[in-house]
């Protein structure tokens, strides 16, 4: 590598680090809404990979379309997950994922 100008590797390293941060959030957070934020970080890092390969990989614009589909799925997932979280809050009066261990009241 003769010069360190920003290329595909930089974007991939950035997305790896963002992915690891998201996994860390999913593993350590107690509050269910914060676990969801970790999931959003992971989805964003996947999107960076898709768009970086679309830019540098000579595959046309298919990668960008996949990123668009991921964004749509993330929106649907966030809506459903928050509805479930609200329902859990109604039943248990907290949303800590380590305390909710009953399937039925």
């Amino acid at each position: 590598m003769e010069s360190m100008s920003v290329g595909l590797t930089h974007f991939l390293v950035l997305s790896s680090l963002l992915f690891s941060l998201g996994i860390y959030g999913i593993l350590t957070r107690k509050n269910a809404v914060l676990v969801l934020m970790g999931v959003e970080l992971v989805l964003n890092s996947a999107n960076i990979n898709f768009i970086a390969f679309s830019r540098f990989g000579n595959f046309g614009y298919d990668g960008q379309l996949m990123a668009l589909f991921v964004i749509v799925l993330a929106a649907a997932e966030a809506a459903i997950a928050l509805a479930i979280v609200l329902n859990i809050y109604k039943s248990f009066h907290n949303v800590n994922v380590d305390e909710i261990d009953k399937l039925k009241e």
């Binding site: 991939l12 950035l14 680090l17 996994i23 959003e40 960076i48 990123a67 749509v72």
Partner: protein, 166 residues
């Protein structure tokens, strides 16, 4: 170091620092607002990669939709008036060691691997290509996503209302 590189490092720093605050802050509201800056940073990265339409969609859907939804989720499931917005972490040390090792391995793989980059094509705007691809080549997925969004909307409303009848 060109201007492009400087802007990349700026947006990468914004993304990673605010992402770190998102996963480590004790206050849920701080996490939610850091997520805003993470999304802005990722938007900048998309723009740098030449994906102008995706960058705008990211801004509208994530910042305008998902983030507001998450903040509503925080407000509705925590006692805001009693200042009970703190949250703890579980298994912090093992998770930090595990994800640290994982991040190191992943970064090493990504940076040591020789990626065969193709010809970079510059185009004024991606909207025309994306639109025609979406309605011709990917029209089935497009329609399925429309149905999925409708189902998710109705399903979320039904799930959120369920407890009220009893």
């Amino acid at each position: 170091m060109s201007t492009y590189d400087l802007i990349f490092y700026l947006f990468a720093a914004i993304t990673l620092l605010s992402g770190f605050v998102v996963v480590t802050s004790k206050n849920i509201i701080y996490s939610a607002f850091s997520l805003l800056f993470t999304f802005f940073g990722v938007t900048g990265i998309y723009a740098l990669l030449g994906a102008d339409f995706i960058a705008v969609v990211q801004l509208v859907v994530y910042v305008g939709g998902i983030l507001i939804l998450l903040i509503f989720g925080v407000m509705l499931t925590n006692k805001v008036t009693n200042v009970d917005l703190k949250t703890g972490g579980v298994n912090v040390l093992p998770a930090a060691i595990g994800t640290g090792l994982f991040a190191g391995a992943l970064t090493a793989i990504m940076s040591k691997n020789y990626w065969r980059a193709g010809n970079i094509t510059y185009e004024e705007t991606t909207i025309y290509t994306l639109g025609s691809k979406l309605l011709l080549e990917y029209s089935l997925i497009f329609e399925l996503l429309a149905i999925l969004l409708l189902v998710a909307l109705v399903g979320a409303a039904v799930i959120a209302r369920r407890g009220r009848e009893s």
